[in-house]
Amino acid sequence: MSGGCEPTTSVGTASMAQTITKSRGAREPVTGTALSSRKKRPFLVDIYSTAVGKKYAMAISGIALMGFVLFHMIGNLKMYYGAYELNNYAAFLKELLYPLAPKGAVLWILRGGLLAMLVLHLHAAWSLTVMNRQARPVQYQSPRDYEVANFASRTMRYSGMIVFSFLVWHLLDLTFGVVNTVGTEGEFVREEVYQNVVRSFDRWPVAAFYILANLLLGIHLRHGAWSLFQSLGWNNPRFNAWRWAFATGFSLVVVIGNISFPIAVLAGIVKV
C-alpha cells in the first residue's frame, strides 16, 4: 500500500524478482532498475567480465590457435621431402630470429603465447559454460527439435576437450617423448622429429586417435572459424556468405593436411 505524497522513488536492484512472487504477499513495483552504477575497472578486466568480452577472448585466442594449427600443418608437410628437411625445419624454428635473439628464445615466446592463448580459451570456455548452465537450471522435459544448431555448434566444448586431451598426449608423445618408443640410440631423441613421427604413427591406435582428434578439430573449427566473425562483430552483409566458406575451407585444409601424415605413414609412403 502506498499513501499520500511521501517520495517513493527507491533505488531498486536490477533483478526481475520484482515482478514475480517468491513467497505470497504484495509484489514490489518496478522502479529505479537502472540506477546502480558499475564500478570502474581497467579496460581489459572490465570487458572480460562480460560474456560478450569473453567471446572476444575466445575468438582472439581461437584465431591464435588457428594460426598455430595452420602453420604447424604447413611446416609438417616438409615430412614429404624426407627426414632431413623436416628435422632441419624443426631446428630452424629453434633459431628463429637468431642471431637477433638468442637461440630458442623466440620459439619459447611463441610457445608461451600459445599456452596463454590456450589457457585463456579454456578459461573463457569454462566460465561461459558455467554461465550457460545457470541460465537454464531446469532443462526442457521434452525432446528439443533443433532447426539450425548443428552437431558442430552443440559439441564445441566436447570437441574442444578431446582436442585438448589429444594435445597433451601429442606433446607427451612427440615433444617430451614420454610415451614414444625409443630412438636409434636406445632412447628418445628430440631432434629426430621425422623418425619420432613415423615411429609414433606406426602404432595404429596412435594414428587412429590422431585422426579422430583431427576430425574433431575440424568440426570444432568448422563452427569456430565462422563463429569468431560474429563474436568479433565482423559482419557485413556483402561478405557474410564468405564467412561460412572460409570456415569450411579452413577446417578442410587443416584436417586434410594433418590427417595425411598418419595415413602416409601407415601406407608406407613416409617411412624411416
Binding site: M16, T33, G53, V138, A149, L232, G233
Partner: protein, 257 residues
Amino acid sequence: MNQLTNLKLKVWRQAGPETKGHFESYTVDKVSDEASFLEMLDQLNERLISEGKEAIVFDHDCREGICGTCSLMINGRAHGPQRATTTCQLHMRTFKSGDEIVIEPWRAAAFPIIKDLMVDRASFDRIVEAGGFITAPTGGAPDANLILVPKPVADAAMDSAACIGCGACVAACPNGAANLFTGAKISHLNVLPQGQSERYKRAEAMVHAMDDQFGSCTNHGECSAACPKEISLDVIAMMNSDFRKSKSKNRKALSRG
C-alpha cells in the same frame, strides 16, 4: 474446412513458481483445421472448466502475432513448427489427426514459470530500462524532416525494430542467451542518426543488463531460426562490435565519427 480428430496433447502443468510440475495428457477428440492453435487450447480449457477442473494457464493477447505475449514450446520448437510464425498465428492445418503434441513452457532462469505454461519475461524490460531508448523528453524535438534518414537505414532499423519481445530466441537458445533480443533493440536504435549520441552508452548498459540475467551466445543461430520476426544474426555482431567500442572509444570525440 476439415476436422482433425484424436489429438494427443501432453501439457506441462505447474501450480506455481516453486512447485514441481509434470506433464498431463489430454485427448482432443475433434477440432477444425481452421482453428488456431490457441483456439484449440481454448476449447480444451472450456472442457476442463465444464469438468470442474482448472483451465490451463497460458499467455496470449493480440492473437495476431504482434504483441509478443504468446509463447509455448511445441514439440520441441519455440512457437511451434511453422517458420516465422508465433504460436497464436499457428493454425491446426499444420497438424494431422492422431498427432501427439507436447507443450512445454519456455525455460530459462530469467523466465521463471508463473503457472502452467505462463512465464515471466520481465527480464527483457530490465534490458530496455537499462538503455533501450533514445533520450528525447517530450517537447523539445526538432521538425521531423530535419533529421534525414536514408531509406536503407530506415529499412534496416525497421527490420530490427520488428522484434516483438516474445522471448522465443531465449527459449530456443541452447544457452538461454538473449543476444538476439538485445541485439535487435541495439541495432534498431544504433543505426539511426537520432540514436548516435547515446550509441555506445546504450550498447554498454544493455549488454551489462543482459549479462546479469541470461546465458551467453555461442552462435548456434537457433534464436534467429525460431524468431517469428526473423531477426537476423547480424544484430548480434553489431551489438558485439558496439559493445567493444563502448569500452574503448573516446566518447568525448564521438561527433568526429
